[in-house]
């Protein structure tokens, strides 16, 4: 009934073979898959973290550039104001100087015209005086002379 023989050895070999088979066909593939899955999860976590970090960086960058843009805008406006003021001043001063020039020119012209008129009047008066003198010399009486002179003057004035 009891039997102890060389079959112990065969049984040990059997169990060792079974151990190798189970290890190869059950533990190894399942462990590999589990490890792969863990690696993948780890990798996706890292990727998500990296994406978050990138987004944060981008956000900070955008905020910085936005503030820079605002700054530039302000600067540009201020510049434009300064420039505009300068231009305004220049134009005004130019206009002023031009108007002054025009005024002085006009004044000069007026003066010249007046001078001319004056001279003309003088010439006329001289001519008239000369004429009067000649007439006086010609005329017989002073009374007639006066009358003539006065007549002539009144005619001229009209």
């Amino acid at each position: 009934m009891l039997r102890i023989d060389l079959n112990i050895v065969w049984e040990i070999i059997n169990v060792l073979i079974l151990f190798a088979l189970v290890k190869k066909f059950l533990f190894k593939p399942v462990r590999e898959i589990l490890k792969k899955r863990n690696d993948e999860i780890e990798a996706s976590y890292q990727a998500a973290e990296k994406t978050n970090k990138d987004a944060d960086d981008l956000k900070a960058q955008l905020a910085a550039s936005a503030s820079k843009i605002a700054e530039n805008e302000e600067k540009a406006v201020a510049d434009a104001k300064v420039k505009g003021a300068a231009e305004y001043d220049r134009i005004v001063s130019e206009a002023q100087s031009k108007s002054e020039q025009i005024i002085s020119e006009a004044r000069d012209k007026a003066k010249a015209v007046a001078d001319q008129e004056k001279r003309k009047a003088e010439d006329e008066i001289t001519g008239m005086v000369k004429e009067a003198a000649a007439k006086i010399a010609e005329s017989e009486s002073d009374e007639k002379l006066y009358d003539d002179f006065l007549k002539e003057v009144s005619q001229n004035e009209q």
Binding site: M1, L2, R3, I4, D5, L6, N7, I8, V9, W10, E11, I12, N14, V15, I17, L18, F19, L21, V22, K23, F25, L26, F27, P29, V30, R31, I33, L34, K36, R37, E40
Partner: protein, 245 residues
């Protein structure tokens, strides 16, 4: 009655399945072990076929569950220092479990043959002592026989033989006893009743015995694989120094 006894004895003997070269007799139990091996291997291959990292199928989930369960089951018993023996213990658990259950199909369970249980317990004691040597080193392993005190050394040495003997006999006795009772029941009431008893003797007791074998072996390995404790003499000296200081 005589016929019954004769039949029972026939059932209990381990027959030779075939002979190689007229000398080497291959026992029935070894052949049934091959069948058990084939079943386990087939199941493993079937479960782990087409495994995917994403969206695992039901089969893969089952395979992952089984591996995780075996790992935690044997890992808990082995402890943190002996985790590398998990796979062997899982294999033994699967083998003894399937070997005991196979009696349901009317086959003589291989664990009913003492050759099988001797083989398993020999492997267990070799693994236990090897784990001790690996964890403590040759000297540490030898010293572990004198612990906790020198006077228990003979008992510790005896344990090297008692442990595999008890493992072997427990498994053999339980399975043989269950087998004998099942054969008797089958002879007395061939219909209906054996099913109920088979649930207990083949499934429940078979799995319990697989568990007990693995549990005890794991426990011994865990004990052997514990890192060597500091030598008591040194401890005493250190204490003395501390007191003097």
């Amino acid at each position: 009655m005589k016929a019954l006894a004769h039949k029972l004895v026939e059932e209990l003997t381990v027959e030779t399945a075939f002979t190689i070269g007229g000398k080497i007799q291959i026992a029935e139990s070894v052949v049934i072990t091959w069948v058990v091996m084939a079943i386990i291997t087939f199941l493993c291959i079937w479960l782990t076929r087409n495994m995917k990292v994403r969206n695992p199928g039901k089969r893969q989930l089952a395979a992952e569950f089984i591996v995780n369960w075996l790992d935690s089951f044997t890992g808990d018993m082995l402890g943190e220092h002996a985790l590398q023996y998990r796979e062997y213990m899982s294999t033994v658990l699967l083998f003894i479990g399937f070997a005991n259950i196979i009696g349901v199909f009317g086959v003589k369970p291989p664990t009913k043959d003492m050759n099988v249980t001797i083989a398993l317990s020999l492997m267990s004691i070799i693994l236990i002592e090897a784990a001790g040597i690996r964890a403590k080193g040759g000297k540490g392993w030898l010293r572990s026989f004198t612990e906790p005190i020198a006077i228990v050394t003979p008992i510790n040495i005896l344990e090297v033989f008692i442990r595999p003997l008890s493992l072997c006999m427990r498994l053999f006795g339980n399975v043989l006893g269950a087998f004998v009772i099942m054969e008797l029941i089958k002879m007395l009431v061939p219909v209906g009743v054996p099913v109920v008893f088979s649930l207990y003797f083949d499934f429940f007791d078979g799995l319990i015995q697989a568990y007990v074998f693995v549990f005890l072996t794991s426990l011994f390995i865990a004990e052997a694989a514990e890192p060597a404790a500091p030598r008591p003499k040194k401890v005493r000296k250190a204490k003395k120094k501390a007191v003097q200081a």
